[in-house]
């Protein structure tokens, strides 16, 4: 077995990243879906692209997959333009939905996809790994949404690709199926496969990704490892009745602290989280006559960062 797992290079033999996008622009009529986007996904790593609906995630990924053409900018996949035919065998693709004839049986479709490749994975073993063995003879349209997703994931990796694009791979999966999917992504990473996935789930990005890229309005707003994005800083959180006046509390806190209420009734204190902080905050709560609930000291989550960057408005 090749020892790919231990010698995972960030760049390919030719020194190029798995995916490199520069100044990408994509317009649909008068809507600009991608607006000068620049990103790079390292080889052998898992890159998660996060963003609200309509941020330009799928447009970007579909340009990399060769389904759509860029209006402007430069895209390289494994060092090649996305239209290069040799990429078809090297890159695995999981669409957001569909792609399988509704009447075709799950096992039949996966065997067909395997037949397109020189050294595919054993379709039966792959079905087993994704918990689909008992549905091998079920027509695609009779599979549940989660089963369809897993079959689509299997189709993306059956050809033993170097790079896999997964567009919302765990959308609508139950916890067990999500876990099975994460397990596969982790396995791919360990085997040296580059994975680029889009997701709405922050915990998924935090758990799986080596690199997180947050995009909004067609541009990258933040990129880095989950740890650099969330920062080393910790924060104190608690719930209480909404509308407390925080000025008094702030004056009692060390220099450089910040306190905010977001959303209503949820309070966050940022800054030096020293042992005395807890005492100061609870003392202040007592003086205000409120009980602090769910009081905790923790690191910022990726979700906090995401909401800070992309806002809380529904879209």
């Amino acid at each position: 077995m090749p020892d790919a797992a231990n010698t995972r290079p960030a760049a390919g033999a030719d020194g190029t990243p798995a995916v490199e996008v520069r100044d990408l622009v994509k317009r649909y009529g008068r809507t600009t879906a991608v607006d000068g986007l620049t990103l790079s996904c390292a080889r052998g790593r898992v890159t998660a692209i996060l963003g609200p609906n309509g941020a330009g995630k799928t447009s970007t990924i579909e340009i990399c997959e060769g389904f759509r053409h860029a209006d402007r900018g430069d895209v390289r996949v494994l060092g090649l333009p996305p239209s290069d035919r040799s990429l078809k065998a090297r890159v695995g693709v999981m669409l957001q939905s569909g792609g399988v004839p509704p009447a075709m049986r799950a096992g039949e479709w996966l065997r067909l996809m395997a037949r397109f490749h020189a050294q595919p994975l054993d379709p039966a073993a792959l079905l087993d790994r994704l918990g689909l063995t008992e549905h091998a003879r079920t027509p695609y349209r009779r599979l549940s949404g989660g089963q369809q997703q897993r079959l689509s994931l299997a189709g993306a990796i059956v050809g033993r690709p170097e790079l896999v694009f997964l567009d919302e791979p765990t959308a609508g999966l139950d916890p067990q199926a999500r876990y099975a999917c994460w397990d596969v992504v982790t396995g791919l990473r360990e085997a040296g496969v580059s994975v680029v996935l889009t997701t709405h789930y922050m915990d998924e990005a935090e758990k799986l990704a080596d690199q997180v890229i947050i995009i909004d309005h067609g541009r990258v707003v933040a990129a880095g490892t989950p740890a650099t994005l969330t920062g080393a800083e910790r924060q104190l959180r608690f719930r209480a009745r909404p509308g407390l006046n925080l000025d008094e509390l702030l004056s009692a806190l060390p220099e450089g602290s910040a306190a905010k209420e977001s959303p209503a009734g949820h309070y966050i204190i940022e800054g030096q989280v020293a042992p005395g902080l807890l005492a100061t905050v609870t003392a202040w709560c007592a003086s205000e006559g409120v009980t602090a609930e769910d009081l905790s000291i923790e690191r910022r989550t990726l979700e906090d960062v995401f909401l800070e960057l992309t806002g809380r408005e529904l879209r």
Binding site: F67, R90, G98, V100, A103, M104, F116, D128, G187, A191
Partner: protein, 255 residues
């Protein structure tokens, strides 16, 4: 227990013939498994064959089965290459099947080759079943089988072009409606069971230019009368094939 799978990359496309055969096999199975498709490709042609050969509905010289069988064979080609293929392809686009295949190592020419092979495969079954039923009813075919094969291949090309032209431009539902409508109109007008001679003299030259009429007339001139190379029908089918396939390849939308 989970199976151990080695995910280490080993990319590579299979040889083209293997990919085309695999895809053609899948398409053929899909056609033979689909109830509506079977109705169209086998049941209706066989019912028409039996009905119009037995019942005195049409006036022809000679045995009715000798007149009806070539027309029903032509209808079978049209039902698979045109109607069935148009509907299936329209829905494949709707369900993202064509898009997903576009990301696989199977190239578009490879996919078209596979579709053609699948259509020809189903036609072999149709010809076998229809011929068996006709022979059991006393059909006595004449002529050179080579001309029949040529007519079927050209008819398949012309009808595939027409089918893909519709499927590649209209929505799936519109394709379904259009393909069935065109099928019915051509079935009525193309001399399949009703002789073209029974239509007014003025419209006959136009009817003769329809692909179904060309195929029916060509098949009949060989099978019923033992005629030689059917030059006229071959030319008409060739023209339809060239024009429809050229336009379809330019207008076809894959997603």
């Amino acid at each position: 227990m989970t199976t151990t799978l080695d995910f280490a990359p080993r990319p590579g496309a299979a040889p083209l013939p293997r990919m085309v055969l695999a895809q053609a096999g899948a398409e053929m199975r899909a056609m033979l498994r689909n109830g509506e498709q079977l109705l169209l490709t086998l049941i209706i042609p066989v019912l028409l064959l039996v009905g119009f050969s037995r019942a005195p509905l049409i006036n022809v010289s000679g045995a009715r089965v000798d007149f009806v069988t070539p027309g029903v064979l032509a209808l079978a080609v049209m039902s698979t290459a045109f109607t069935g293929q148009a509907i299936a392809t329209g829905f494949e686009r709707r369900y993202g099947v064509l898009k997903r295949l576009g990301a696989s190592p199977l190239s578009r020419p490879g996919l078209l080759l596979a579709k053609t092979a699948a259509v020809l495969g189903v036609e072999v079954i149709q010809v076998a079943v229809i011929s068996a039923v006709a022979l059991a009813m006393g059909w006595s075919p004449h002529g050179n089988p080579l001309w029949i094969a040529l007519l079927i291949v050209l008819g398949t090309a012309a009808f595939s072009g027409l089918g893909l032209l519709i499927a590649g431009t209209l929505r799936a539902e519109a394709t379904l409606a259009a393909a069935n409508l065109v099928y019915l109109v051509l079935l009525g007008l193309g001399g399949v069971v009703f002789p073209v001679a029974s239509f007014p003299e003025g419209v006959r030259p136009i009817l003769e230019l329809l692909p179904i009429t060309a195929l029916t007339n060509g098949m009949r001139s060989v099978l019923a009368s033992g005629g030689g190379f059917p030059a006229g029908p071959v030319l008409v089918l060739l023209a339809w094939a060239v024009v429809t396939l050229a336009v379809a390849s330019r207008t076809f939308r894959w997603e």
